[in-house]
């Protein structure tokens, strides 16, 4: 296995997702492809030679030399404000990857799929749903997605479109901080009751992927095990960057 070398990525398109989140579509010459759920390392170099590296989940389905990242701007961060605010289309930066062979899904792994995300933890789960749709997979899938407010929901319209395709995907939102007038969905943190109502019963033996802040990931994984899910079918990932608790 050769070394994962640093490659120059060029920003092809920038798409704002929410007030704090933007997606960067990148062209990465020489990219050898990736699996849904994998991440990349990004390296920025300042003019004085100072370098900073961070990891970001890949948001896009495998698609040639095109790689999409979705970046949440952390106000006291070092790398994310630059990526989210200062980069323009045509700009370049270094990345290497893809990384990680555990928190990944491809249609051959089957399902049913239960994806549980909090905040920008939805990003690698979105790569799985995009890959599922692009490959025409009919693996039954349920996404349970926790956001603070409706404005914080990343990929809102695309998720609506994917769910409307009637190919076996359901999307359930919960809004934990504020709900718009007339909201009829969930309005609390993901708990055992919510997992029972919007997830799969343990007898269905779903493949489960959980990604989000530590508190959500730990609570959801504990609840799933308590509900009777096989711990070895529950994969967890804490979303990057790791610098914020």
């Amino acid at each position: 296995m050769g070394r994962l070398s640093w490659r120059l990525a060029r920003v092809a398109e920038i798409r704002p997702e929410t007030p704090r989140v933007a997606s960067l579509a990148l062209d990465v010459p020489g990219w050898a492809g990736h699996l849904a759920g994998q991440h990349v390392d990004v390296r920025l170099t300042a003019e004085d030679g100072y370098q900073a590296e961070r990891s970001y989940s890949i948001a896009s389905a495998p698609d040639g030399q095109r790689v999409e990242l979705t970046i949440e701007r952390l106000d006291d961060g070092e790398v994310s404000p630059f990526l989210a605010d200062e980069l323009g289309e045509g700009d370049q930066f270094e990345l290497r990857g893809p990384i990680g062979l555990y928190f990944v899904w491809r249609p051959e792994l089957g399902g049913p799929l239960l994806l549980v995300g909090g905040g920008s933890g939805v990003v690698p789960l979105m790569a799985m749903l995009r890959h599922r749709a692009a490959s025409g997979s009919r693996v039954p899938a349920r996404l349970l997605y926790s956001s603070r407010t409706i404005e914080d929901v990343i990929y809102r319209e695309e998720l609506e479109r994917l769910a409307a395709a009637d190919d076996g995907l359901t999307v359930t939102h919960t809004l934990t901080r504020a709900q718009p007038p007339g909201w009829r969905g969930y309005d609390r943190r993901i708990d055992a009751g919510l997992l029972k109502e919007a997830g799969w019963p343990p007898e269905a033996r779903p493949l489960v992927y959980v990604c989000g802040p530590t508190r959500l990931v730990e609570a959801v994984a504990d609840d799933l095990v308590a509900l009777g899910h096989d711990p070895s079918r529950v994969k967890t990932e804490r979303f990057g960057p790791t610098g914020v608790q």
Binding site: R3, L4, L8, T45, Q51, A52, E94, P231
Partner: protein
């Protein structure tokens, strides 16, 4: 390729730690203690908990929680480095040196490697040399408090000179082998040894 300059990108973090030479390449100082796990946190009852050292040893043995607590204690004070880029500087863990355990089981001369195995099924591999000579511990306290389950409690391995995935959480035992056998992350794209100062993060690094 080394260092394509990103115009407008500037250092925003304080440089003290780096100047002190404590941050390996590509790492940044993190005041908190992030939790990274591949699956649910196993809950282990202390009455059921055992630590085993087995494999290529003259006297394989098992310790109960009380027995482990009665072994001579030692405290590591220093820095830890996670492959996901954060380092935690100036932290401490208390437990028992792996040297103390090995002394009791008497490794056979042909033992060259160790496979750490854990409650929940996690494994990681190390050359025997990386866990002897005051370089590794089995720890159950972090900064004077019991190690929380999400950080590997009741007890985890601590091998602070390597990336922190080698410091296996929820440790059940060590198996001494006469060959190397990749563990969990080592089979899934991560470097076999994981020296942060050589930036051995992934396969091929």
């Amino acid at each position: 390729m080394s260092g394509f300059v990103s115009r407008g990108f500037r250092r925003r973090r304080r440089a003290d730690d780096e100047e002190a030479g404590r941050l390996p390449p590509g790492q940044y100082a993190e005041p908190g203690f992030p939790v990274l796990s591949a699956g649910p946190t196993p809950r282990v009852d202390l009455a059921e908990w055992r630590l085993r050292v087995e494999g290529l040893v003259a006297r394989p043995r098992e310790w109960t929680w009380e027995e482990v607590q009665a072994l001579p204690r030692s405290t590591f004070e220093g820095d830890i480095h996670c492959v996901t880029k954060w380092s935690k500087l100036g932290t401490s863990f208390t437990g028992v040196s792996v040297d103390v355990l090995l002394e009791q089981v008497e490794p056979l001369p042909e033992a060259t490697h160790v496979l750490a195995f854990c409650y929940g099924g996690y494994t990681t591999n190390l050359p025997l040399e990386d866990v002897r000579g005051g370089k590794a511990w089995v720890v159950w306290e972090h900064e004077g408090r019991p190690l929380p389950p999400e950080h590997g409690g009741p007890a985890r391995l601590l091998v602070p000179h390597l990336y922190f995935w080698k410091s296996a959480k929820w440790l059940m035992g060590l198996r001494l082998l006469d060959h190397d056998r990749p563990g969990f992350w080592e089979s899934l794209g991560y470097h076999n040894r994981g020296d942060p100062w050589r930036e051995e993060r992934y396969w091929g690094d």
